[in-house]
Symmetry: C2
Subunit: 282 residues, 2 copies
């Protein structure tokens, strides 16, 4: 049992704090939240035992979870390591991109006390209001560049994620960013583009609402995602995201050509190829 | 209480037959299914009281539901009307495009006995195995060009959909095809393209499975949809689908430019605009 400090009491940070306390991993949970309204809400909801200052959190917590947008986290993790003395304190991040944060900390004298992770769970909602128990159950958690962390620190964080019922997957930070661009980041971009298209073409909101049952609502769900989180992800993972977007635009143009030329054989081939995703995802 | 005949015992036809019988609208349900394996399955599952021939179904049923892919339906509905004498029998279609089928029947002497509808419900699965009770509950059902049907026939079909708990929406067939291209058809194309992209870029199926929790699985869900259904929809709704695809490709290129030039202000603007979909869909 230890004290866990969570910096950023949003969907991910808030949900982690909830389950780490409820499931007995943390004896005490501290929270840091810059936004006063969110801080007040986190207190009201009871996401953590105490809302404290950044400095208090670093001083009192055994494990610090940095759950802020990735642009801020890249500066915050080295700063927290600066506060650490050689010792047992551990800082982890939960960001959706891993290369920059691992590069930014690579030569830090306390690098061993940092474990870089990406719990692959979430919803399209954000803020302390979006936090929920059980959010991580059964999902995958990526551990990036664990060879740069102290084995004892990695073991402690493996225990933390085991309490959250997550399956650990070990990956190089750069490889992580390639794979998440392919599987996760592109999905968000296609959803944003879909929402923009429908909002542009369909001026009548009533029609959108009425017709959304035709699969639109699940396809566009991610377009509700927060700009504060996604601007830095798309920006940091720039090269990989552009690469996969180019492939995507090419596939759309293949579809467009087939439809424009009434080439039903080709449309059928493209759909049959796309259907192979069934074998991978139930 | 009447006899309802369903031609095509797939997801939509099978689910309708189930609920119309269970909820007491139909005293007897007849089914027609060309595919012998699907016909056998429909019998085993008990989707209808009897599986009969096309001719028997037309002769015995008071209401005939044509639930086959739209390319076939466009020829089948006029053929069924040819079998009708002036009388009380009604045929309805449940197709996802409405213009062609309404044009194909427009001047038929028995046009009044045809009611063209589009129940906006479904899943990404198909076949009699996919049929389920309650599929239509709470969803919208579009009635197209009801001014061309006998008012009494429209009233009977309104009662049928009321039993399925659907909200009726009245629309011109051409307008229907514009709106469904915007809201439904484009979602399918973007999902197909997403599946093609990920299958192309990510050769390691294990990674797709592990990382799919990041929203990918909901965005790509529609890519499991059946080619037999979607080839004729995309082909029949050609002009509207191409128009909305062009807007979509343009939005993707705007995103691409913003990311390529590290223009975080512009990325933020695009995401904030896309977020407006939240106000329309919960």
């Amino acid at each position: 049992m230890c004290t866990v400090g969570v910096i950023g009491l949003g969907l991910i940070g808030g949900s982690m704090a909830l389950d780490l306390k409820r499931r007995g991993f943390a004896a005490c949970t501290l929270g840091v939240e810059q936004d006063p309204v969110a801080a007040e809400a986190a207190k009201t909801i009871g996401l953590v035992d105490e809302v404290v200052s950044y400095e208090d959190c670093i001083a009192r917590a055994d494990i610090i979870v940095v759950a802020v947008p990735v642009g801020t986290a890249v500066k915050m993790v080295p700063d927290i390591l600066n506060h650490f003395e050689q010792g047992d304190k551990i800082v982890i991040d939960v960001c959706s991109t891993k290369s920059q944060i691992c590069h930014a900390t690579q030569y830090h004298p306390h690098r061993g006390q940092f474990v870089s992770t990406h719990p692959m769970a979430g919803t399209e909602y954000s803020g302390p209001w979006a936090a929920q128990p059980g959010l991580f159950d059964g999902r995958a958690c990526i551990f990036a560049n664990t060879e740069d962390s102290h084995p004892k620190a990695v073991k402690t964080i493996e225990e933390l994620y085991a309490v959250l019922n997550m399956r650990p997957i070990y990956m190089n930070a750069d490889q992580h960013d390639v794979h998440t661009a392919y599987v996760s980041h592109i999905s968000h971009v296609t959803s944003f583009a879909l929402a923009l298209t429908v909002l542009d073409k369909e001026k009548d909101e009533k029609h959108i609402f009425d017709l959304a049952s035709g699969g639109f609502s699940s396809t566009v769900r991610l377009a509700k995602s927060n700009a504060d989180m996604w601007v830095p992800i798309l920006s940091q993972n720039h090269d990989n995201v552009l690469h996969v977007m180019d492939t995507y635009i090419d596939k759309m143009l293949q579809f467009r050509d087939a439809i424009a030329t009434y080439d039903e054989t080709r449309i059928r081939e493209l759909i049959a190829e796309a259907n192979k995703i069934k074998k991978i995802l139930r």
